[in-house]
Symmetry: D3
Subunit: 281 residues, 6 copies
């Protein structure tokens, strides 16, 4: 597959290096805010990348200087009935429709987490609301120093329901900080994000951050995809289960995976100081 297989409105999917894909949110005039249709596209893109054997690492970024994404486009959401779903109906029936709808949106964002290939989020400018929902699904988060973050939802009278509140407590970030920003909807800076570990690095500009992400993605792409995808899968599984379950899981996982030829090739390449070549996955 190639770029032509990834035509989705408001997204640019490119391949800046061998085995590296870049997903760019592309609605810069609206600060990359999400319309309802964009959620569907997001899910479709990551489901596709997940099994694309030409992809070993993915960068997620936003077009333009001003924003990674400002979150949900409230106007577009209102126009499409997204915000007033089932209004006027029996409370229970409206409740069921709301549940189905939240499930649908959650699934599109969860597709980023379930994607078998590692995803590196590169944030800059506004990283509001949905930005947090989405990037807590990513594996590595880095940003430009001008990034302004916000768990925005209480500002519009709702508790965030697309993943932020469920995933932040599993991000290795101070709970006092999480509550502080989630309860107040206040802005927080790149510096704070680094201090509490929400991002693992801050760069002087969006460009520098993207360069670094590309370097990282290319580095990952040189490794055995069996090892890399296993590592992502097992860390996520372990995060979601007890340690004993994580140990059991990797044991069963590796029952097949260490039978790969990649281990031998990697060891040999190490000895011969050559770059190993691994089959696609």
């Amino acid at each position: 597959m190639g770029a032509s297989d990834y035509k989705f409105e408001h997204f640019n999917v490119t391949f800046p290096a061998e085995y590296v894909a870049q997903v760019q949110i592309d609605r810069p005039k609206k600060l990359n805010a999400f319309t309802p249709a964009m959620f569907t596209s997001l899910g479709a893109i990551f489901n596709k990348l997940s099994h694309d054997e030409n992809v070993r690492a993915i960068i997620l970024t936003g077009n333009g200087d001003r924003a990674f994404t400002a979150g949900l486009d409230v106007q577009a959401a209102s126009d499409s009935g997204f915000m007033t779903l089932g209004k006027g109906e029996d409370v229970a029936r409206r409740g069921v429709k709301i549940q189905r709808h939240i499930q649908e949106i959650q699934d599109t964002v969860t597709a980023v987490e379930k994607c078998e290939k590692p995803v590196i989020a590169v944030m800059h400018g506004y990283a509001y609301g949905l930005a947090i929902d989405m990037t807590t699904c990513c594996d590595v988060r880095i940003c430009a120093k001008d990034t302004t973050f916000s768990v925005r939802e209480v500002e519009i009278g709702i508790a965030a329901d697309v993943g932020t509140l469920s995933r932040l407590p599993y991000s290795g970030v101070s709970m006092s900080f999480i509550k502080d920003v989630a309860l107040t909807a206040r802005d927080w800076s790149a510096e704070e994000a680094l201090r509490v570990g929400f991002v693992s690095a801050v760069y002087d500009s969006k460009k520098e951050a993207l360069d670094r992400a590309l370097h990282l993605a290319k580095l990952i792409a040189t490794k055995s995809p069996v090892a890399v995808q296993g590592t992502k899968q097992v860390i996520n599984y372990s995060r979601d289960h007890q340690i004993v379950d994580g140990l059991e899981y990797i044991k069963v996982w590796n029952a097949s995976m260490v039978q790969t030829k990649d281990t031998e090739d990697a060891l040999l390449a190490g000895i011969k100081k050559k770059k190993p070549v691994f089959a696609k996955l």
Copy 2:
């Protein structure tokens, strides 16, 4: 309800701003150390605040310059038989009494965590033993730079049983640090507390810290209480369950909660640049 509904010995409950309550531990001559009766009061106060519709955010602080709280008043505990419960009886029967007693004390502290409204802990001076048990139940922790923390219990020959050892591993704090301070009972500083994320901010003085907490509490109080209380509830639930369970919970939670008028009012207020007014909760 108002201040007169919250008369408890050794606690001052005041309302420094609209929708903001402040609970001050008030036994400064004894470094705000807890007598057995004070545990009961603590539980009663927070159970009451939880459903008080005039409260949207709570500050927890200690009276005097020297201590947030030095922990359990060992002398008072001894006098009341608290430390020698069932001594001399059959080991099993004494064991059952100890269990019942620990359960009772745990419940009073857990009341702080279960309180539907966010609680901001402001620490200064000594923050020993019970101080950690109690504030790990709070949502946001900040402190003055003179604060000295200690997980004190091994110093008196016991493993802490009021919550510290169970809640610290869920606070987003380095486990190596947690073990270090819990196994040695050593003092740790505000600076360390900030570095590892136990507190999310340190201020020059108790006064400054309290001012900041009041600012924070007032900010929270301007938001929709439906959104704020949902946010607290869902973060705590998510911390205690797997991510998939957190996602399911917020989905069902919001089935009713997004049917609130608050969302509309908040959106409209945002557009009109006005301060929204939300009904009590």
Copy 3:
């Protein structure tokens, strides 16, 4: 028991202070890399220390200037058939053998975590692969500033299966950082390790770090072993279960443990400003 009870090839077990044991990995010419036999010894040593009543705290370190441990000795592992286990057999049968083998190795490393006495890891130089697997089982991690860490496994084409991927997400460390280093196998420094909380302190030299560890271990050894061992046990249990389960566990735990004479002795010693003496455990 004494040093003579702990004769294991490639390990030096010494007792630098009363109630303090030091386990030194001793294969400096090979950067303290592990042969298959060393895993078995590691498990045996910690299982023994766990019930040794002359031990209250343990230091884990590596001999020589260059490495804590460079990880698995790939050559030795190959020679012993460790890496080619069941090669050529039916895939399923080979898979079962691999599972049994991983289980065996995991158990030796888990022995460090299950050891009833606290373990302080002191790292320096290379701390690669197995170094992370082993030290995530330790209670406190400190290091010299020259330490170079690496989750090395993807470099040789496998997902780490001895514990790193399952325990790091429970170490209170930024998940973005964990994924970054585990997916790339890149080196990371003592400074980064401190910032993200993987270690809780960094010292100028291995010697200084060891001195500090000894100080810490001696401090722990002065406390009631009932309290110290309970504290370790309950923190680990709480990390592995929900908060409510942790609270229940410490309640039942203390049903017997607070009936100890140590509490009384510790309190009395505190009042009399004397050093308490506790019975062995």
Copy 4:
């Protein structure tokens, strides 16, 4: 304590044998249907019995020939505003009130499960709705052959929320049967109840069933209360956790409990063919 300590409207608490309490639902003219106030009483009675050292086993029964209980008294519930709680208010605010109310009712029923002493439910006649909620909290369930059971809630347009749907799947009963009766609200007989294991015995009449329950309760009362209460506690804990957690729990539980003098006395009594006498608990 004695019968005079247990004065609650619509309940008779008696002591038909040493260490045996009997709780009789006493509103026979209304088929023992529950008013809102009766829930509060139910919780209070079982909380009290739980720590009453003169009680070692409890029988739960209903007064009159016609019903154990026909469930919630819908009329009384309506009159007290119980069914229309918060009607007309903002959906979210009404939702919060409903949650608080359900929590309150659940807690009263859960008190039966949490009661430290075993509870034997003896059903006859109508055992509808709340009857199932309550008795799934009991330890042993037996009935007269005239009993008619029903999970009644869908008949009045709601999913049962006081425990039936959460506890039945943990009762060791065929899930196909549970769904059948819960989705249709149909009546089921004593015979079916026995076949699927909801009850463990059926007797010809209420009297016979009560006689058998008394025999059972008296038998339990002759055993060591340390052993009996531990057995109840550990089975319930094990039901609610994984097997490994159950094994760990009983291990820690018995650390204190097997230090009881009861074991020695029980063994000696066994040898001497005498009836042992155990201290109160």
Copy 5:
């Protein structure tokens, strides 16, 4: 929607009564054995029925006299490459393909369980392999007395991976029986199935069983769909979580659901002895 919206090869979807759908597996010449394509259809059908507001209860049955389904059509599976997926490739890469494929098949079967409307399985003749996988996802299981069941997979050298081994332990059936039939692949009869509770009723013929299922489905269809769908959802959730989590879930669920008009209508209809009419869902 109607029958014309449910055109799928080898399935007949009909509507034998108002609000009742019947899904008939229709490949009688091949004992209703499943081709790979039929799995996809199965998932699609139940995903569609789940949100079809004209459906309140579903019957799942097989066409012809001889079999509900004999399971996977091994020949068809072989022809489509289903059984030799990735054969000859690197073991790890083949392993990944196998995982993706199993996931896909599991998802189609899980669609039956996730379907919001109750599903009643009516078995007869051969009910082999996949028959157990599928019907453990159903809510109610009944059968004709001529039914022969078998967990067939070990017969062809594999451990069942489409759900049987994971769901049977949650069906309220004797574990000794489950192991017996799963380890031997032996046939078991309708009588045994009833005794252990795998089915909740046995009828003399397929026709009688279908009549009974229709009666059951029609009965369910007369109840409030809010109550019925909530009941299914909450029982399944409770089965998959601890009791405390089940209680919390129904509490939050009913926060919206008891605000329905259905409760009032159901109560009123009860009083007026009329049949209530509920809005679609």
Copy 6:
């Protein structure tokens, strides 16, 4: 390996058919009661059988006419200090010794459950105390009609701590029955055991039951050991985890296991109506 590798006092290990091992508890004069040393042997035997490639199914039985096992030999346990462990010591220290001891005994019994090969328990005569602990670890339980069961522990003043209370709630048996027999220590019959599903079949005599077990074991031994051992492992895992986790586990398990040649051989044998021959495991 053969019988000569399994010499353990008070146990006879024989091989009545190809791939079938029989473990006979052999202390008939003492009703096969367990001495402390026998626990160690039990664990050793099953650990060895687990990896013995000549074994595919195991029968567990007791020598003599009178008892499967009467449980712990209280006299022998007393003589060896087993019952008075640490008596007179500090309560906490005694508590720690008790914990270590219970852990040790639990591990020997858990070895039966962890054994990779299926274990069929054949009970007769007295099946008291430990008999239940041990057989709840077995896969299939059958018995002679003269069997008398008892969860005996409350009779001697303790809550059972070797597994009965933790495993019975996971045996698919009516909870009301479990509580009934565990709280009273009463005898129960083979007939009751069958009705509630504790055993899956009852035979007229011990001989008949043993014959049937041998038939079952031989049948299992004809199947692919890859399929059989996977089936046991996955059912046990699923019983101990949520359904979604069970589905994930079998998916990863089969990533290697369905790459076996056994599937092909089994299919071919099925077509050719021949008995397949599988490689050892």
